[in-house]
Assembly symmetry: C2
Amino acid sequence: MAKLKAHAVLSALGDPTRRAIVEKLSERPHSVSKLAAPLGITLTAVAQHLQVLEECGLVRTEKIGRVRTAQLRADGFQVLRSWVDDRRSLVERQLDQLAAMLREDEN
Amino acid sequence: MAKLKAHAVLSALGDPTRRAIVEKLSERPHSVSKLAAPLGITLTAVAQHLQVLEECGLVRTEKIGRVRTAQLRADGFQVLRSWVDDRRSLVERQLDQLAAMLREDEN
DNA sequence: TCGTTACTGAAGTGTATGCTTCACTAATGG
DNA sequence: CCATTAGTGAAGCATACACTTCAGTAACGA
């Protein structure tokens, strides 16, 4: 079901706020509050986004005391990378076929 | 502005119907009608999706006679791949740092 | 122990956007 | 030519979902 997971990742990254969160987290792990501040949205909103990101394997969160800290996970990115590479190789195959056909036509 | 473009690609692929179109096109180029049939949506809807996919560099379309044919482009995928790889390398760096810190702690 | 901080869960709101309909143009083919 | 097929543009609808508010809990720290 790697395909299904890739769809979940793409669906999650479709939202600009979640992409902002991911980019922020790619610097270093952050608490919910630290993520919310620069985005100008409520903690609740951030928590909701984090849940989506967590479900698709892009983020892991851990609550210590009253602070929940989020950090990126490699898993989701790996799945996404595979999906992209699959499509990309199919595109290139099509381009090769096209080129071959054009060569045929020249005869 | 490679970053902005990656965002456009991710935004486009956030929609399940557009992902279905992309996956269909990764077999071979298709006309608007051929894309619409299995999806159970109107030609108009497909045309709208194709416009989004075209704007972000994932698809190229060409109209010959009354038939518009869509095919995948490598460009959008390349941009997306770069974005994913950037994040992924940052994640791995963080994991390395964490591992190093844990080793420190063992002393 | 009391005030503040950090978050959570439920419930409601507003809006972006995916999709439709309809009226139209233009190419195709019998 | 005439009927059919393929697609387009404008305009409207309707629903998903991003975000809020509010009321609550639990941890921290002075």
